[in-house]
């Protein structure tokens, strides 16, 4: 598939950009940060997002979605990154939705995907244990007991854990991965206050689950889990792209207007070359994110590519947001100024489902070295 957006995609991106810039922008984020609603997100905004059909964009028509594809979803997520939009979109649509589509049973797909597509449910993915995301070191938290399963786990960095109605919980038993869909009344949730001021929590599960909660172990263990995580990481990279590009554009804007030594600071070559080099890196980021999105839609093997996309965006989002603060000078360090929001959001996104080092290592392994 060609690495160029078609007219429909451009329209979708532009309409998302327009809507979010007006209603879910950086000012709205600041208000949210200062006065977080109890559910962790703004219900009215979530309702509008659902009304526009964004939640169902990547879900197939047989399960209540639009079947429009993952590229479209990525374009929307990128705009949310630019605007620092707060909503349970990533946790519900990108993460839980992808997990169910990849390794849910047909009954679970029938039950949950239409609700996700309609924005009727908020869901979250509970997978990480301990301080680092690492698929290889998941503990054995599941054991079969006759027809049911005993699940005992503590899952950390569960995005939108507080407001979620249900969770996709991924763990392991002695033979492989196991995953379940559990509802909010079956777990206990502790709020975690994170640097990006979004809702996130620790989910404690200690329960016996009947077999109908079990997700399809076959697809889970034949590459389905990896593929789901790859898709999620490409989506997260799309948000990192939006965050990075916006931080960069704001910074270049500042370079054009701030004066020191009788000139605008953008005339100093020490800053110009850093900005130009960063521009180059961001162009690479745009291309590789689009390549990742297209690969998901094409059904390509994602292993190496998804980790490449995430690693590249992790690395350059660090640069873009660090330079953003640095090039703003003292004012960049202030809470009153918005540039600091971008650096905080970028790091949480990076560390969700594997940071730069995790994915660079995985990318190398997939490349045979």
């Amino acid at each position: 598939m060609s690495l160029v957006l078609n007219e429909e995609e451009i329209m979708l991106r532009d309409s998302a950009a327009g809507f979010l810039a007006e209603t879910a922008n950086v000012d709205a984020f600041r208000k949210h940060r200062d006065n977080p609603p109890p559910a962790g997100f703004d219900q009215a905004l979530w309702g509008s997002i659902a009304e526009m059909g964004w939640c169902g964009i990547a879900i197939d028509e047989a399960h209540g979605g639009l079947g429009y594809g993952f590229t479209g979803l990525g374009l929307i997520i990128e705009q949310m990154g630019k605007n620092l939009t707060v909503s349970p979109f990533n946790s519900t649509v990108l993460m839980a939705g992808t997990a169910i589509a990849q390794f849910g049973t047909e009954a679970q797909k029938q039950e949950w995907l239409p609700k996700i597509a309609a924005g009727e449910v908020v869901m979250a993915l509970a997978i990480q244990e301990g301080s680092h995301f690492d698929l290889d070191s998941l503990s054995t938290s599941v054991s079969a007991q006759g027809d049911s399963f005993a699940v005992k786990a503590e899952k950390r960095q569960v995005l939108d854990a507080i407001g979620a109605d249900a969770y996709v919980v991924v763990g392991k038993d002695v033979s492989g991965y196991q995953a379940f869909i559990v509802t909010a009344d079956q777990v206990s949730v502790q709020d975690q206050s994170m640097v990006d001021a979004r809702s996130s929590g620790t989910v404690v599960i200690d329960i016996s689950l009947s077999a109908d909660a079990q997700m399809d172990p076959q697809s889970l263990n034949s590459g389905g889990l990896e593929r789901a995580l790859d898709i999620m990481n490409i989506g997260l990279a799309a948000e990192l792209l939006g965050v990075s590009v916006e931080a960069f554009e704001r910074t270049v804007g500042y370079l054009r207007e701030r004066k020191q030594f009788g000139k605008v600071i953008g005339s100093f070559q020490g800053l110009q070359h850093r900005a130009a080099d960063l521009f180059a890196e961001l162009e690479l980021c745009k291309a590789i994110v689009l390549k990742g999105l297209r690969a998901v839609d094409a059904g390509d093997d994602l292993g190496g590519l998804a980790s490449a996309v995430k690693a590249k965006l992790a690395q350059i989002s660090q640069r873009a947001t660090n330079e953003g603060v640095q090039m703003h000078g003292g004012i960049g360090m202030t809470d009153e100024y918005d540039i600091g929001f971008f650096i905080k959001r970028a790091r949480v996104l990076e560390h969700t489902l594997g940071d730069f080092h995790y994915h660079l290592d995985r990318y190398a392994l997939q490349g045979g070295y």
Partner: protein, 394 residues
């Protein structure tokens, strides 16, 4: 579509019948690249045969118009030709500054007589061109060039010196920037002229590079007569042509960064240095530097692909194209530097069979010039800062 399929079938059988076996062997050294010219240099006599056969169909430059000897192929057909050549591992029949630099400029700015005179010999590989831009005191600041061209009615008399003129000692003709007027700003008064390197008054002196070869020269002009019919475009308006040509030169240079060979650097390192039980390269710090290089190579290739796709879809050449020269050459330097780490001692050999005549070391040293020739990396960053980001001059 069926037309394209027919074209593919015909092309495939023509290539099968006409591409010599020896020209289906990968290029190993600079000598394997055929540059044409009055006295062509060859590592194998089939190079000329292959070039002549391709030139007869205009396929040395598939997309140039037929009227000027080119293949007249559409973009889609040219792509098919490239694919079919790649399929059998056919070498490029001809690489030259005429094709990559002068041709595009003449097609845009030359008059009909100039196109008819100069383009067909480029297609056929009969005339080899060199580029007379840089001077001892005009490198990055090219517009301050001082080589003079004095108006003598129907001709000019050219005096001055060029430097770093690649292959000036092997080239038949030169496209040259000269100053026809000293009174205006430095960008005005520059003219773009063509002349035969055999003209009396032209001398060249080779300069040896750190890589040991001497592909470029100091070039001296001492009362060299140049007919006015060989002025391209208007007198004093050569800067526009010079810049247009530079964009093509930069495109060509940035493609040097495209990694060749079937094995990635990471796989090469794994073969040479071994992996641990988990499959990770033993040399852990090298591993992550290589992975970053591979990552950037992948992202850069995606960028080229995206820009090409956008141009094809009629969305124009986006700002990303301005980073190709900079990023591609820096990437190529990183690759060559890492190759030394991956190959170790055997990469440092300079002469002798055992070291393949110092292939790796010489390529490594030569790569350092990629970020200098055609405008340095720093100059590329200046251009991005100014033109793309809209930052003001200091």
């Amino acid at each position: 579509m069926s037309d394209l399929n027919t074209f593919r079938t015909e092309t495939r059988s023509w290539l099968e019948a006409n591409c010599p076996e020896s020209m289906r062997v990968p290029i190993r050294s600079f000598e394997d690249i055929y540059n044409g010219g009055r006295n062509p240099e060859m590592s194998h006599p089939d190079q000329k045969i292959w070039c002549d056969r391709m030139a007869e169909r205009g396929w040395t430059v598939p997309e140039w118009p037929k009227a000027y000897g080119g293949g007249g192929l559409s973009k889609a057909e040219a792509k098919v030709l490239r694919e079919e050549m790649a399929r059998i591992g056919a070498r490029s029949p001809l690489d030259s500054f005429g094709i990559s630099m002068l041709g595009p400029a003449l097609l845009k700015f030359g008059n009909e007589d100039q196109k008819l005179e100069h383009l067909p010999p480029i297609v056929r590989g009969e005339i080899r061109w060199c580029q007379g831009y840089s001077e001892p005191n005009a490198g990055s600041d090219l517009a301050s060039l001082a080589t003079r061209a004095e108006d003598k009615g129907d001709h000019y008399i050219v005096n001055g010196q060029k430097i770093w003129t690649s292959y000036a000692d092997k080239a038949d003709w030169i496209f040259c920037l000269v100053r026809t007027d000293n009174t205006g700003s430095k960008h005005e008064g520059i003219s773009f002229v063509l002349f035969d390197m055999a003209t009396p008054g032209v001398t060249t002196r080779p300069i040896k590079l750190i890589s040991g070869s001497s592909p470029f020269c100091e070039t001296f002009f001492d009362d060299v007569p140049v007919l006015k019919k060989n002025l391209v475009g208007e007198e004093g308006k050569g800067w526009t042509i010079a810049k247009y040509l530079l964009t093509h030169e930069r495109e060509m240079i940035s493609s040097f960064g495209a990694a060749s060979g079937k094995k990635t650097l990471g796989q090469r390192a794994a073969d040479n240095m071994g992996t641990d039980a988990s499959g990770r390269l033993r040399a852990g710090t090298l591993r992550s530097v290589i992975a970053q290089y591979q990552l950037d190579t992948l992202a850069f290739a995606a960028t080229m692909e995206k820009v090409t796709a956008e141009a094809k879809a009629g969305q124009g050449l986006g700002p990303a194209s301005s980073i190709f020269k900079y990023y591609g050459t820096e990437l190529n330097k990183r690759r060559n530097e890492l190759l030394l780490s991956v190959e170790g001692e055997s990469a440092l050999g300079w002469d002798g069979e055992e070291y393949n005549e110092g292939e790796i070391a010489r390529a490594w040293l030569r790569s350092k010039g990629n970020s200098i020739e055609g405008g340095t990396s720093e100059v590329q960053l200046n251009i991005v800062a100014k033109r793309v980001l809209g930052l003001p001059d200091a």
